[in-house]
Symmetry: C2
């Protein structure tokens, strides 16, 4: 078998066998197949696509390119919830403790933010001391002892994926549905999740801008999950405007903690309850969504979800006093409230533009490895469908630099559109 023949086969739009995909990924992982063949292969997949079967084989081959965690001796079920990425998406920080509080073990490995899209690890690092670099043994031990882990991707899991992703980033092969799906799912499979809820974001602030693209990605990932023997469910949720009110690292952690205390903007509250119910059902803890929802509401009301988050923070070395008193989070030097320039109904708060403005402030990264500023960001006061009067507070900027503040102000103002007529609020979920 030769790498070039596998490239040629996919170039000519033929379906690859499991053996061919396995051979390619194995060779790529151990260095027998050079980057220049892998990038050419990725481009053929990008342009000619892959079937569900091929994509599953690719995900499995990448999952097995390193260690695959078997957590069945530690816990019966391990649930994972994955978001495809968006702006203001702090869902994992609220949902994972809720699920764990309802008795389902949660072992999750998250990623960092890139570009307009934030990352759970960056957010959690707002809490002084919080470690995101647990070893595999620490991961297992904490899962067993505390029933909740929220850390970074372990280096020995799915090494082919890390190598492939770095290559895709510089060779124009990022936005390929089979490559995205297999990249996400290989990590879930390698990390040992047995029940997976996928939150696929759709809209201006998501990687998938149309419902059709998002549906394809979701259905492909569900197929992979099933073919790999994992219970998998996908939700399609809106990402045209930022989720909840905050965008930025510590600002989002504060909002997530507030939710665990029972206080949250309506959209974020509804989103978290919905996702949690699904996780509880797919994890076999609730018989249906209604029961799941009741459990989710109860764990907030009785404080057990908040307590689970405290346990998590403490277990991973974070200063839990920040959870108890969120005013301890370092505040940005400049906080400016920007008022509505006109009256009307909000017809758009462009999520991607807000996300990009947060990168300008320093809350995100323009490129991998850039440092980030945890204190800066935005508080969005009005959402699509809200009625606003000229002069009313529209949003708040938290910045550490005056020039960047000025730039962010004009950018985020331009992200808001107004209408004279009534505008319906955006749906939270599509399917």
């Amino acid at each position: 078998m030769r790498a070039v023949d596998i490239i040629i086969k996919k170039r000519d739009k033929q379906e690859l066998t499991s053996r061919e995909i396995g051979f390619f990924i194995k060779g790529f992982t151990n260095g027998d197949i050079p980057d220049y063949q892998a990038s050419s292969f990725a481009m053929t997949i990008m342009l000619n696509g892959m079937t569900s079967r091929e994509t599953t084989d690719l995900a499995l081959a990448m999952a097995h390119s390193g260690q695959v965690l078997d957590l069945s001796k530690i816990v019966d079920v391990v649930v994972d919830k994955h978001s495809s990425g968006g702006v203001g998406d702090k869902t994992s920080i609220s949902v994972m403790p809720m699920v764990a509080a309802c008795g389902l073990p949660v072992g999750k490995m998250s990623g960092r933010g890139l570009g307009f899209s934030g990352g759970t690890l960056d957010k959690l690092e707002s809490i002084p001391g919080y470690r995101v670099d647990l070893t595999t043994d620490e991961f297992k031990q904490q899962l067993k002892d505390k029933g909740i882990v929220l850390t970074g991707q372990s280096l020995d899991l799915a090494p082919a994926d890390g190598k492939m992703y770095a290559l895709r980033d510089v060779t124009g092969t990022v936005p390929s549905t089979p490559l995205i799906a297999s990249s996400i799912m290989c990590k879930k499979i390698a990390a040992g999740a047995t029940a997976i809820v996928l939150d696929v974001k759709v809209g201006l602030g998501a990687f998938m801008e149309t419902l059709d693209e998002a549906r394809k990605l979701a259905s492909l990932m569900v197929d992979i999950g099933h073919l790999a023997g994992r219970k998998t469910v996908a939700l399609l949720s809106d990402m045209n405007q930022p989720l909840g009110s905050t965008v930025g690292n510590s600002l989002e952690v504060i909002e997530a903690v507030e939710l665990l205390r029972g206080h949250a903007p309506a959209d974020y509250w509804e989103h978290c309850l919905h996702v949690t119910s699904h996780v509880l059902v797919v994890g076999g803890r609730a018989k249906d969504l209604a029961e799941g929802r009741a459990m989710a509401e109860k764990c907030i009301a009785d404080g057990s979800a908040l307590e689970k988050f405290r346990v998590l923070v403490q277990a991973q070395g974070g200063d839990v006093s920040y959870v108890d008193d969120t005013s301890k989070f370092e505040r940005a030097k400049y906080v400016e409230v920007v008022n509505a320039p006109r009256s009307g109904f909000i017809s758009q708060v462009h999520a991607r533009i807000v996300g990009e403005a947060s990168v300008v402030l320093g809350a995100g990264r323009a490129k991998k490895g850039d440092p980030i500023d945890h204190a800066v960001g935005f508080i969005i006061h009005k959402k699509v469908g809200d009625k606003v009067e000229a002069g009313e507070p529209l949003f708040e900027i938290h910045a550490n630099d005056e020039a960047k503040l000025a730039e962010a102000r004009s950018v985020v103002l331009s992200a808001h559109d107004f209408s004279n007529k009534f505008v319906s609020p955006l749906p939270l979920f599509y399917e």
Copy 2:
């Protein structure tokens, strides 16, 4: 400007600017753009194509990746004739001396054979001492003094092309019309040719199997030539069966020399006269094809073409006594005449199969750098349309190994098809 954005643009089927193409090739040549980006880029071109304008820019950028010879101070016109490669194609060896004998300076850099397709350099090296590694200075001096040079591609010409070709070979991006066209034309442009005749082969023993593909390649190369300010003409000629009677290195040199003496199979004779006439017209030496043909016939009849070949061989260090007495060429150990197994009309002599059989004998290379055996090959006695009686000589095998001889015998027999009904001879040229 970033390489990845150029890849993305072509991936998304947009037309690249001259600056973008120039930036990419320059970066690739000097190592700023790594192989894994170049291979991904090549795959986007392979799958999404390029316009004539883009292909011309690519050819020019590759031509200018190294030294571009300016021969205008040495001679007024430099003609080059290029064949896209086939089986038994020894045309350059006859045509270049004919053209030079008619007073047009010929400075040609040729290639080696690969796979079923032979190469002029390998053939010329059958002549003991013949050097194919002239330096650029030697090239210029000989062009000035003798008016004829036939050597290998100089290393400092179009280095981007050599680098790109090596990469294409292992990344599934060889059969792309824009990449083939720009690769051929960049070398012609860099080598200083001002008038170019392209002989594009079509058929079973050519890289282009259909007339439509060949026509596209030819028209693209003509466009490139014109846009680069070179007089360019393309012919489409048949390569379903081997050209002339011989396949193999010294066997083909002998046939080419015999033509210069006035003796040649009808198809090869006609082919050389036709190509020569075109070269004389495009080089401005003849006013039309009829005049070109008369000049071509005259230079054979008066011996001046043969004398020009003697001059060439002598100038490049070859033993000219081999030209004067072709029986001096080393003969293969085994020469076997294979007779027709049945009577009928020849309906096929599959050029690619014969070419591949010549690789089995050792006349060609399975992969770059393999050594070759100059003495071995075939003499084909019957061509498509010929009537043959069972037991009549069909072809002759020249071999240095009995097992290979046996293999070649059965393969080349299978390359011949017979018909009970009359079969028309193949056309020599299509357009």
